[in-house]
Symmetry: C2
Subunit: 518 residues, 2 copies
């Protein structure tokens, strides 16, 4: 609750200090806010026949084995649609699945409190959401530690500061210094006050979910009626793989749909552990669980915005440890996209790694993940910045290293200019054989922004680099996130909205927030 | 010349010690020898119309500006085909280019002295060639230093040892302790004795080139007549961009063709320096220079095996330093592949980075490069392992880190098994909702090789990893290359061939090798 109590800091950041619009002294030269689009068709790793075989196997799973659904209300919804319910087991016939496909929008607008930061989900649009959920955070100065609200707020500030991040985050590190009953209220307030980008809400509890939705409504200053027509908050529901949907998850799928908000169902199908030891088998299970979620969601409100989530990876069969950014992960990410498009749904995938250090492993696992995500047609790429140790840590250095990777991908996605001027024949006429292009007219008008200027990469020659202390990427990242926090400016908010938000949060804290048994 | 003088070491490696076939104690568990194939269509970043626009601009360049060609013999060859020659300038009409297209094979076999290590070049085949050409080498134990023959030999051993490397290398680090006159003879001997994979020869001098071809012939134990029908050695010719072909390069293009050996012409088109500051312009220049090389090559011998080389990247416009693995590099790698396929030619690309350390930057620049190379349909991927600092250093740690990346790509390229058994419905029936797959029958028959087991990645949890001394990938790579050298076995060679090779080399050393002016 410290943010509004820092007027001096806010005044400084608004009225002076570094500016980002080129008026004042040059700060971090990041890319402008934009939402990248994929200008090429997504990659196919299986042919259409194979995809149909996997789709068909998912249907067999759902109708023959079925899902265990813990929430009675969810079982009732499935039953009313014709599913066979025995105890917790729900067997879902293929006709029920077929009826649910095609209702959800293939593409929709996700509304931010700042309309300039609203984004499109689906189609060829790509959105990057930062790391969500780790209990721990780390940085080079203070090491690995349980996350606090202060850390969480710094991740929100970084998510707001960097233009290539399109959401305010899903809890980049948990705020373990705040009791779980009211933690979501403190984090929700921080997201709305420190950022004006689109919002996430946790669905791990009915009060948490409804508080998150209400905070999003207040932030936008709209009625619930308008909000129901304008998706303004998203949640991620992980199934309890294999084939189980627990109470809070089913509740989230149902209530988000009823209120017209965005549900992303992401089965947690680690091949060899919670899913078959084959990528194909794990994808069949993923697909069955995602379809079960889609059915429940669309039965709750036909046409509710729904995102098909893929998170299939494998475990190390020697230790059981989860692995990320592997060849198996890449395949699953790409084929997951094929399945999502089979159902005309937006696709969620991730930027993952299992590394303990921000070293070469962290980078290659991340870029392999992004290769799968981008070529696979990912629309919402979660954990896009800062995710480490398979999700156990949100790292400040990894966050800004990922920012550099995401910006490179944004530049990679820009279609090539092949206009006559870009082809440069006149430049080649001017320079001729054996010359150089450093000073020619074609270069002079373009050189300042001809190429992506990385934030981390060190292109000095070895001697200069050594003279500078041989900084590795990890060290350079340490300086960058601190510079970004120094340069960060808190977005403005309408005073009435701020007051309503504070009032709501104070009341909900007084009421006890989300009941817990501890 | 120390290799044959080490019979004890060879006896040990042949008769005992560690084995690689699973009979003896387990060594480095690498993937088996195989040549990966691309099972999906290569990516297109420009549409066919844009590609034609760039092709057309290249033709305009060649006929209007032309190339400076230093070698009189080469100018004569162009002139006889109808090119307009004025001084060194050669203007090549589009009809001459058109006549050269379609003569070279789209796919061919590249013969190794061990037939089991012969490879296919072109089509959907992929071959990885290790780092070539740096004057320096480095490792964590001894730092960065000028390369020696001993270092060069260790890179050859690593290239032989690791199955995912398909050539004996192009001089992974230069052997600066050997005089340039005879260096190629020492390196050539090392490659043939320490490896039985396909060979590279330098074309930076007539004697060097012919010595390399003759050593390849001797190694295979065949006649020159047979060799002319069976490509057994390749060279890379870098044009002197922009639009200049120096003497040795033109000689190499001509003589390799006449002898039926493989020429890869790779323009060195760094956008903003030796090429226009736009990616499109740099690619037009690359394409013009590659086509000029193709014309000279095919005029010298129609149907000679030719590889279209792409190396377009950009420079840092602030410092002029070359940059690699950038978004611009990725685009150029992918569109370069589109151009090569436009001419039905095999495509050469690279695994590059500009990093000074084997850190996150080295890894992300490399994986971005490989993303471009693989999605762009690269057939021969040079500098695939060990290339650092934009080519100034061959790094032992980077070499084995890249081995892990290449193996991951080999696994990624394996088509997905979607057989009924792989779909795992029976496993899901056995396990059911809420269970786990660790012990089920489907897992038990597959677990040992279900997933790629990385050589470097550390998937231990943070506490175990910390207890082990928090090793970063760079440190783990240091242990791996030394373990690989310890496990390496020298391939057998026919005694008569070894004798002939030694005799040839002794004679050529006595004759003075390649004349130099120092």
């Amino acid at each position: 609750m410290s943010i509004a109590a820092e007027p001096a800091a806010r005044r400084r950041s608004r009225e002076g200090g570094r500016r980002r619009d080129g008026e004042g002294p040059r700060g971090i030269a990041q890319l402008p806010w934009q939402q990248p689009r994929r200008a090429f068709p997504p990659m196919k790793l299986v042919c259409d026949d194979q995809l149909e075989t996997m789709h068909e196997a998912s249907l067999v799973l759902l109708e023959e084995i079925g899902m265990d659904v813990v929430l009675p209300e969810a079982r009732d919804i499935y039953a009313r649609a014709g599913a066979v319910v025995e105890g917790e087991r729900v067997r879902i016939g293929r006709d029920i699945v077929a009826a649910a496909i095609g209702l959800a929008p293939a593409e929709f607008t996700f509304h931010a409190r700042n309309p300039a930061h609203s984004i499109r989900i689906g189609g060829d649009w790509i959105a990057f959401s930062p790391v969500g959920g780790p209990p721990n955070c780390s940085d080079l100065d203070h090491g690995r530690r349980p996350g606090t609200l202060a850390d969480n707020q710094n991740f929100i500030r970084l998510s707001q500061f960097f233009n290539c991040i399109h959401t305010s985050g899903g809890g980049s590190t948990d705020a373990l210094d705040i009791h779980a009953r009211v933690r979501h209220l403190h984090i929700g307030r921080a997201k709305i006050r420190l950022s004006d980008k689109v919002l996430y809400t946790s669905s791990t509890g009915r009060e948490r979910l409804f508080d998150g939705i209400e905070m999003a409504r207040i932030a936008r200053g709209i009625t619930m009626e308008q909000m129901m027509a304008e998706p303004s908050v998203f949640t991620v529901v992980n199934t309890n793989s294999p084939l189980k949907l627990d109470g809070p998850m089913a509740m989230g799928i149902i209530e988000m749909a009823r209120l017209g908000q965005i549900t992303c169902v992401t089965p947690f199908t680690l091949a060899g552990a919670m899913a078959p030891v084959t990528v194909a088998g794990a994808l069949v299970e993923q697909n069955a669980e995602a379809l079960a979620g889609l059915v429940l969601n669309q039965l709750s409100k036909p046409g509710a915005p729904f995102i098909y989530g893929g998170f299939t990876s494998n475990v190390d069969m020697k230790s059981g440890a989860p692995a990320f950014g592997t060849p198996e992960y890449m395949k699953a990410a790409i084929i997951g996209g094929q399945m999502a498009r089979r159902y005309n749904l937006p696709y969620r995938t991730s930027n993952t790694c299992a590394a303990n250090a921000v070293d070469a492993q962290a980078a290659y696992e991340s870029v392999f993940s992004l290769w799968g995500a981008i070529m696979g047609g990912g629309n919402l790429i979660i954990h896009a910045a800062g995710w480490m140790e398979g999700g156990l840590v949100g790292s400040f250095e990894k966050f800004v290293l990922d920012i550099d990777l995401l910006q490179m991908i944004e530049k990679f996605l820009e279609p090539l200019d092949t206009s006559a001027d870009a082809l440069g024949l006149d430049a080649m006429r001017e320079v001729g054989p054996g010359g150089h292009f450093f000073g020619c007219a074609h270069t002079m008008v373009r050189y300042s922004d001809a190429f992506y200027a990385p934030l981390i990469s060190d292109w000095r020659n070895f001697q200069q680099w050594q003279a500078a202390g041989s900084p590795e990427a990890w060290h350079k990242a340490n300086g960058l996130w601190k510079a970004a926090l120094a340069e960060y400016q808190e977005p403005t908010i309408d005073a009435a909205i701020a007051e309503e938000l504070d009032g709501f949060i104070a009341r909900r804290i007084a009421e006890g927030g989300q009941p817990t048994d501890f």
